[in-house]
């Protein structure tokens, strides 16, 4: 379907014709009257003009439809005119909104005779996700430029899928809540592990390596060291993808959601490498859920999920967030699921999410990319508000990793961990 509209380009000609006519009559100047006739002819031509309906055929070629993140991918879109002559044709290719064009232009302005072709060649930088090109937009004008027709030109489906690999981060800050399987997290109970828990009376058969010789030398009584039992954790990486979470900073390349997803990939890798069960969820206008699991197949599934789940979109969603989404996700969580809440904490509801999860018995760790700035009064206020929210979260017992996106996540975790107590 096309839209036809007037460009208003010739509106002044009518005024000019009337002024010339009026002055010519009043001042008895025949030449002025004659010139108004010329202007009238132009105005009449403009009024009667109508932009043609083009017949265009589009072909598009993408050099690599499964690139790695940040790879440069060449795109060539060719438009052929299968109809009559088009004297003023402007074309805009439907580049997916999350893919920046790094070279060339995804638009052109040409005149095409019957059978002629125009090509738009440009390069995009690959970004996480499933990206689909929209049909190109064509704007056609008639010879006088008075009327234009805008339409979407049918094109073959073109997609590009980019799935970043999951790699490991440094130590992941897990609360001591654990599941019943042995793993990497120290629980509050004594058992097999490497972290000291308490001393108990020596029993025959205890390993010599666990005897506390200092205690024996000091008191003359043998005692055996007990350690925290290490259990496998079940962790849900919960991403804040509500409209309020899509905030950016002029000096950063990505928005908060993309940084959170990048951090989440590193956490996922480390947790899986340590033998923990890890799931992924998104809280936004739509929720999404991948139940905790482990192993190579689950790792591949989680990589795909993080990259291509439509709910974890790189650009702000169109729907409205409803708080009932959190209830939906909570209903899927088991009591022993720990939650890592990845959110910029840009509004008070982000704090509410953590509180409600805690009140349901889930240990919560907040990993928050800091997107605040201090150039304007509004930005300084937002920074102060975020600081207070993070304090509220700490006060409620959540572990908080305040992460500047221009530093490695490991650095932020190490800084946060120094202030935590068991």
């Amino acid at each position: 379907m096309s839209v036809v509209r007037s460009t208003e380009r010739w509106r002044g000609v009518s005024a000019g014709a009337l002024v010339a006519l009026g002055l010519g009559l009043v001042l008895s100047r025949p030449a002025l009257v004659l010139s108004s006739a010329v202007a009238v002819a132009y105005a009449a031509a403009a009024r009667s003009a109508r932009a043609p309906a083009p017949s265009l055929v589009v072909e598009r070629e993408v050099a690599d439809d499964e690139p790695a993140p940040d790879d440069r991918v060449a795109v060539e879109t060719t438009v052929r005119n299968d109809g009559g002559r088009l004297v003023d044709l402007r074309l805009f290719d439907g580049v997916p909104p999350a893919l920046p064009v790094t070279d060339g232009a995804a638009r052109t302005a040409v005149a095409l005779g019957p059978g002629d072709e125009a090509t738009m060649s440009y390069t995009v930088a690959a970004a996480r996700g499933d990206h689909a090109w929209e049909p190109p937009t064509a704007v056609v004008r008639d010879g006088s430029g008075a009327s234009e027709r805008e339409l979407a030109v049918e094109a073959p489906a073109t997609t590009l899928t980019c799935v970043p690999r999951v790699d490991a981060a440094g130590d992941v800050p897990l609360a001591p809540l654990t599941t019943m399987h042995t793993g990497q997290v120290a629980s509050h109970e004594p058992g097999a592990g490497v972290e000291f828990h308490s001393l108990r009376e020596y029993r025959p058969g205890d390993p010599m390596g666990h005897v506390d010789w200092h205690h024996l030398a000091r008191t003359g009584e043998p005692a055996t060291m007990a350690f925290h039992a290490e259990r496998m954790a079940a962790v849900v990486l919960l991403f804040d993808v509500r409209p309020a979470a899509y905030v950016g900073r002029p000096d950063l390349d990505h928005n908060a959601v993309e940084y959170a997803l990048a951090g989440g990939r590193r956490l996922l890798g480390r947790l899986l490498d340590d033998g923990n069960r890890v799931g992924v969820a998104g809280l936004g206008a739509e929720t999404c859920w991948l139940a905790p699991g482990l192993g190579r197949e689950h790792r591949t599934r989680a990589e795909q999920f993080l990259a291509t789940a439509p709910e974890l979109s790189a650009t702000p969603p169109e729907g409205t967030f409803l708080p009932s989404g959190l209830n939906t996700l909570r209903a899927r969580m088991r009591g022993d699921h720990q939650v890592v809440w990845l959110s910029p904490v840009a509004d008070d509801y982000a704090v509410e999410v953590a509180r409600r999860l805690q009140s349901a018995g889930h240990a919560v760790t907040v990993v928050s990319p800091d997107m605040t700035a201090e150039e304007t009064a509004g930005q300084r206020l937002a920074r102060a508000d975020r600081r207070l929210r993070l304090d509220d979260l700490r006060g409620a017992g959540a572990r908080v990793v305040d992460w500047r996106p221009d530093e490695h996540l490991d650095v932020a975790v190490a800084r946060a961990t120094r202030g935590w107590r068991r």
Partner: protein, 194 residues
Amino acid sequence: MSRRRRAALAVGTTAAGVGLALVVRPGLAGGLGVGETAVLVLGALALAYAVLPVGQWRGTRRRAAPGDEPEVVPACDPPGDDVDRLFAAVDRGAIAELEARAKLRRRLEHSAARAVARRDDCSRDAAREALAAGTWTDDPVAAAYFAERQGDVAAALPAGRRLRFHLAPGSPRARAARRVVDEITAITETGGGR
């Protein structure tokens, strides 16, 4: 083209043709019986009617050329952009300024109450009372911003500084609001957290 426009085009073209013919053969004019007065009236009407398209032209909204910039990934607003828009509306003194002022005040009150409650280890209600009483800060302009009686925010300043405050560019209430932001920022930087 509509029927009315076709008719107008026909009339106009015919009139133009007659005019051209009269230029070539002026003698034909005698048969038309058009007096000088009629010519002057027609001329004046044409000049008056010229105002119409000029008025329409000036009243036409500017419209961007069709087609967004396909090369650029839309950027997300930074946190606090909504507050900056309120500041801009208050500074402009636009018709919507009153609503913007009220929204900005509510927003700042929410943040200030939370900051004061955290600093003083008191309830939000107690913090709001401190805001209303102006005891939450040493800055007299910021203190007056939340005062119950919404009068001159610079009333507590010495006369010279009060004059300079009001003469500075921008809305006095917007400048007072910025000082409130500065105070909230100072509270959170120096000891709002644990």
